[in-house]
Symmetry: C2
Subunit: 450 residues, 2 copies
């Protein structure tokens, strides 16, 4: 990071002194991810100047590392001809990512000057649904035929290697483009040059469908430690591959989305600092409103006990403790289950085991909480045994209800095809609050005779 | 999943009929990740029988895909000689992972029959601190010298390829094992066979230190789309590489840890279903206790207003709504900041921008909430303007305090070298509750003259 700061200052100096040739040299030498990072730090006008000084291939490489916002800004600012040239140079998946958010007529205008082949592939790829395996794949990979020898395979890799996303896993297809096998470059190295591909290829090919969710593709790559995963269309023809670097982005995106949903937000499309205030408010308000109105029911329960409260206002002072402990317990159990579901570690069929486990955990944690809380009550001078018992029992019931709901609701959501992350602490807290206070005040009414 | 279920049933049938030869054949054919999954489904005794029927190399491959619990069980059940044979076959990073949790004397006993070289490397690797780049690297990679030709490089890859984690990125070192350059197999393919490595290697090598956190290594690989990352020791000598498949595991682990910390739990080492009830209670109780005792302060604030409460018990019915909305707002803002910090999207220096943004978001969301809430109050027949104003102002203040704390505390934690995830909703809820209720009842006292 510090090294980059120093480097960026030098680059900035070159820019200020208008030494464009040296700047171009420096940026061409630089790792493309770092060059993109440098462009991100510049004001729009200067960014555009620097981008235009780059060689065509460098420009496309750097472009693929820019943030979606900057990509959109660039592609709509430069001339259509310039944009087309960059799109032609980009890997198909990167081009599709860049064009995905633009209006259809702009996309068609930009594609006008690209090669017919690029245009056709991009149009096809833009049609895959968002978050599908098809939407993140690339069509640039190495095809082999099973009749080829290792020698011929190497020649083919040399020929198409520059334009392929990866050359390290090659796919063997038949005349109908159906996938017949997969062979790694490592296997090619270990075989003699005359060996037929058919003899060394792995025939048990694991693949995804274009319509599969990108999360499934990520789970496959992560399970089998693949560098790339083939994707087939409805007719089982090989149409693309997904590479591991794109899967890392998918994993991070899906995790961010889960974090946001679990905090009762609609997922954001951009990073924190780049999201506008209004956009942010729009993402946050819906759930806040739903949960606020739901909390009315809890208030309604309390209003049934106004008489008890006015007789014994001290009961009110334990409300925050009960509500917070219930909310925290619910967050703990629901988080574990939501995460377990996302990683495929727990499934629907485990529901009885989950509930049984949560009840036992509740008894353990509840016992600890009651003991510490009782000591605390004695310390602050609360000597009324009936009050103390009411609080203790309410605490145990609250923890048990919270943990059970935390275990149950995410699994239930998954069954109803709702994202389990929606059933996280905010949702559960609202339900647990109502239960906790109902139990607490009903106990108080009975035990204290209010 | 369904395909595997069917397959597993067939394998089980072979096992029941004691057709071990066929079972071995079938498992050798199967993808190693799937074979490991099959073993995980078996009871201990049968698992051991099946594992012993496997060929030595298959056994090691399958072993590396087993869960840490099963690895530990296996390695302590089979004879030391058998265990040593497997350790010898394993990649160093997998062997280290398997041995990491065992007592030192058991490790030494198991290493007795391994080759002296393996023993030395494993002992060295076991000394790297947990979660460091050193602890997840492997020593099996392809070294090249810059004087070599491409032809010689290919020969070397063919020779050591079988024992290397990856052959696709090769590292060029000098006589003192210092790293001088990096060259991909793709670059080798695109060059002529007589070219010297020196001419095509990339001299700007990006690397990690053994003592770096594994999270930093993950960020580098994810930023630059690397398939592997070289790791150097304190004397800048190349000692290992980290491969992208291990980085995917690191990313998932770190995310799970953040989810757990944000839900006020100590991170667990195993999956949900494999964690014992007591272990789970131990992970959950500490924070529940801390937060429960903290909630005492909120109760203390309420006890100052017992007089007001007994005069006007209806005020109590709005406590859950205020507390929940505060908690939810705090969860929203803190989650965005914690995630932004983890992904490197926001940094310390952004604190003023964060706070300014959160205040503006608070005004937007607060305004929406007040309007809906006011309508709700009128509908449920709360016509006392002073009461309604008290609730509305308290609501706005609560949301603003919650969002500001959600923006501030995680950044502060990072500054104090505390994990920002600790400052998530449970912590913030507790603080916000106290503020919200203090503001609410003080306002009530002034506006309602209680």
């Amino acid at each position: 990071m510090d090294e980059n700061t120093k480097l960026f200052e030098e680059l900035l100096l070159l820019l200020e002194n208008r030494e464009f040739r040296q700047l171009r040299e420096a940026l061409t030498e630089l790792n493309k991810a770092d060059a993109a990072e440098f462009l991100e730090t510049l004001p729009e006008k200067q960014m555009l100047i620097v981008f235009r000084t780059l060689h065509k291939e460098t420009a496309a490489d750097v472009f693929s590392y820019l943030s979606p916002e900057l990509q959109e800004k660039l592609i709509t600012t430069i001339t259509d001809r310039e944009a087309s040239a960059i799109i032609d140079e980009l890997a198909v998946d990167d081009a599709v990512d860049a064009l995905d958010e633009l209006p259809a007529n702009v996309v068609q205008r930009l594609l006008r000057y690209t090669s017919p082949e690029t245009r056709q592939t991009i149009n096809q790829f833009l049609n895959y649904p968002e978050f599908s395996a098809g939407s993140i794949m690339t069509s640039e990979f190495v095809h082999l035929k099973k009749e080829m020898t290792v020698q011929q395979a190497f020649e083919r890799i040399r020929k198409v290697g520059l334009d392929s996303e990866t050359v390290y896993t090659c796919y063997v297809t038949d005349a109908n483009r159906r996938i017949e096998g997969v062979v790694t470059v490592r296997a090619l190295f270990l075989a003699s040059l005359e060996t037929k591909i058919e003899e060394i290829m792995d025939k048990e090919v694991i693949y995804a469908h274009t319509s599969d969710n990108q999360e499934e593709a990520a789970q496959i790559i992560s399970k089998y430690d693949f560098l790339s995963l083939p994707v087939v269309d409805q007719e089982d023809r090989l149409v693309g591959i997904i590479t591991v670097d794109d899967i890392i982005d998918v994993i991070q995106e899906e995790n961010t989305e889960d974090f946001e949903k679990m905090a009762a937000m609609r997922p954001s499309q951009t990073t924190y600092l780049k999201t506008s205030v209004l956009e942010m408010a729009r993402n946050r308000v819906p759930w806040l409103l739903v949960l606020m109105v739901s909390a009315t029911f809890t208030g309604g329960i309390l209003s049934n006990f106004e008489h008890a409260i006015s007789l014994m206002p001290i009961l009110v002072t334990f409300i925050p403790m009960l509500m917070d402990t219930g909310g925290n317990s619910g967050a703990q159990s629901s988080t574990m289950i939501i995460r377990g579901l996302a990683l495929g570690e727990v499934a629907n069929k485990d529901l009885p085991r989950i509930l049984w486990k949560e009840v036992r955990v509740s008894l353990c944690t509840g016992a600890c909480l009651i003991i510490v809380n009782y000591a605390r009550l004695l310390i602050i001078g609360s000597n009324n045994i009936a009050v103390n018992m009411t609080i203790s029992i309410a605490l145990l019931v609250t923890v048990t209800v919270a943990n059970s709901l935390g275990g149950l609701l995410p699994v239930l959501a998954k069954n109803l095809k709702v994202d389990p992350a929606i059933m996280a602490s905010p949702m559960i807290t609202t339900i647990v609050d109502a239960c906790a206070l109902a139990v607490y005040f009903n106990l108080a009414r009975v035990l204290l005779g209010l």
